[in-house]
Symmetry: C2
Amino acid sequence: MTDLLITNARPMGGAAVDILIKDGVITAIGRGLSAENIPVEDGGGRIAIPGLVDAHTHLDKSLLGYPWYVNEVGPRLIDKIDNERKVKREYGLDVHVQSMRQSLQSVGYGTTLIRTHVDIDTDQGLAALEGVTETRRQLAGVVEIEIVAFPQSGLMRRPGTAELLDKAMAMGADLVGGLDPCGMDRDPKAHLDTIFTIAEKYGKGIDIHLHEGGALGTFSMEMTFERIRALSMQGKVAVSHAFCLGDPDWNATQALIDTCAELDVPILTTAPPSREVPSLRRLRSAGVRFGAGIDGFRDTWGPYGNGDMLERAMLLGMKNNLRRDDELLMALDVCTTGGAIAMDRHAHALEVGGRGDVVIVEGESVGEAIVTHQPRKLVVTAGNVVARDGASLRARP
Amino acid sequence: MTDLLITNARPMGGAAVDILIKDGVITAIGRGLSAENIPVEDGGGRIAIPGLVDAHTHLDKSLLGYPWYVNEVGPRLIDKIDNERKVKREYGLDVHVQSMRQSLQSVGYGTTLIRTHVDIDTDQGLAALEGVTETRRQLAGVVEIEIVAFPQSGLMRRPGTAELLDKAMAMGADLVGGLDPCGMDRDPKAHLDTIFTIAEKYGKGIDIHLHEGGALGTFSMEMTFERIRALSMQGKVAVSHAFCLGDPDWNATQALIDTCAELDVPILTTAPPSREVPSLRRLRSAGVRFGAGIDGFRDTWGPYGNGDMLERAMLLGMKNNLRRDDELLMALDVCTTGGAIAMDRHAHALEVGGRGDVVIVEGESVGEAIVTHQPRKLVVTAGNVVARDGASLRARP
């Protein structure tokens, strides 16, 4: 079923209309629409928003379904990375099962598009990629999953990883990942040259995790920009986290932001309350594509989160001190259409010609829907009903 | 009813025990307790925590029960203050009703102790104080409410306010409030001298809202310290927000933090993601009393929040980047026993001799209880059952 008529729904909290989806695409929005032999869902006067977009997560890390993980991990990044590999081995974690669990939980919350980073390392090789790829196959038509081959444990510091990344791209990963070229790998030139070479070889894009702050993050971004220019990869390289863009040094950060706009470098944030982060309003006014994600949750890294991108819109709003209703709409856009655009999906919108991804949410206004993030009434992916009343129709394994 | 036996509950996620409350005080914690003619509640093997403590809120501001407030307010502090007075007049807001609504919602979430600031100004005079005082009277035994007479619209800039503050104290307010002596009132000496004079006259404490950052906030804190020393008011003056303690200048902030410890100045935070805030770990290691609050919610100031101090413990944890389970316990302590101690309640703890305020929460561990903040199973205030399954037994007006 890819045809659907949703009646009596209020797009973005506006007046009630009907929404007609044919062959997975929105073909009409208006009053009194009718269509023969097409299933009908009653929106009940509730608000309709586009499918939520989780543009940065880790489907291969969650411990959903396991007992509570008691976190006693040390404070450094490398403590968390080393601990995770150890726990994965001890648990014998089945990445396919875990990624199904997280994906279907996210579907229940109304997410219809996910970009996931998947760990590629010399311990587990390509097993995580295989597991998430199988999940992507099984959930086709339910949630779209884009895969970044991610060298979580380092690239230059763990010989053999580059070859695995290359194989991952041959196996169908969508983007090449990177991670703190200075802070993690201690060899920014080799790290960046390696991932750009692999991306160029496969004609694919890049999404780099950049936690480095201040001048160090600025240096890594500048080295990234140099390679985008040299290889004419404008529009194909995204930076996740980019905490250095939240640095208080306005001149330094504005130069970076202007270059992100010039080279069309999308920025993806998870809006953590504990860090300086790229400013939503500042990036948008500079014309930088900007998306948001859940990041990992209920994993060995930390306890917070549940997969709900409407709650993430709230955190994004709180982080950016957005209080007005028009500002809350911006926060929601980053978690829906804006995030999809950051992922090169330009038809992910509640409009004629947009993909038939619609979420019916509770609330008097979009603001209330974000703030209360009550269970989603209905989730539709490309015209298919995939979740009702907060739960995906397909059961979690 | 002030006697109660709670069976089969796990204090702070530990082993299951029984908790005996007599005359509103915990008299025994252990296995196989029994007591004749005392009501019994089955904890069902769930976690028991102390009553949650909202040490900074505004019971007189919420628009709970009204349609969604569309926020189109300007960016400055004074925009928000002026807008609020205007809206209160337009709505004809009944502060007693609104404070009942918010208090009972908080009781449903397990809050048993509240410190509320109440607006005193030359527009509404003492009406808000009267409304909240009536709520306090009606909810005696359900939730303890401590009242700060708060000059929200300024003190020196609105002549007549000081006299109203004086009357508020005579009417039974518990503490004198203050607000940004420099930024708001443009006359820090007169502002601070006025509130200290009133507090001294009535033998009461002070709780000052201090949003001022950096050097300005430091200056206002130093002027406050000078008066604490001069009047020997050690332990009687708290500072709310204290954003200047989150300033990146370590030396400047450490001097302030050390003085807070020396003069026993409790700090109360709402842990907003958008601001630098006092660090939980830093203040605790310096020995500064530290509590947390919800702040206003669903009001003309902003849309976020619902009264849930367990969710606030999560936000406090996220803000302070607390990931380990032992750190999450610290976050919960700030939202329970630690907050009560910051309010001079030294017997608010889940131990023999502690006040019989117990909340039964869902979760395998305290960490999970915080992260998922599911509806509270049972809320007990001084031995009285006041809420079940997420809702206060007394209906909201």
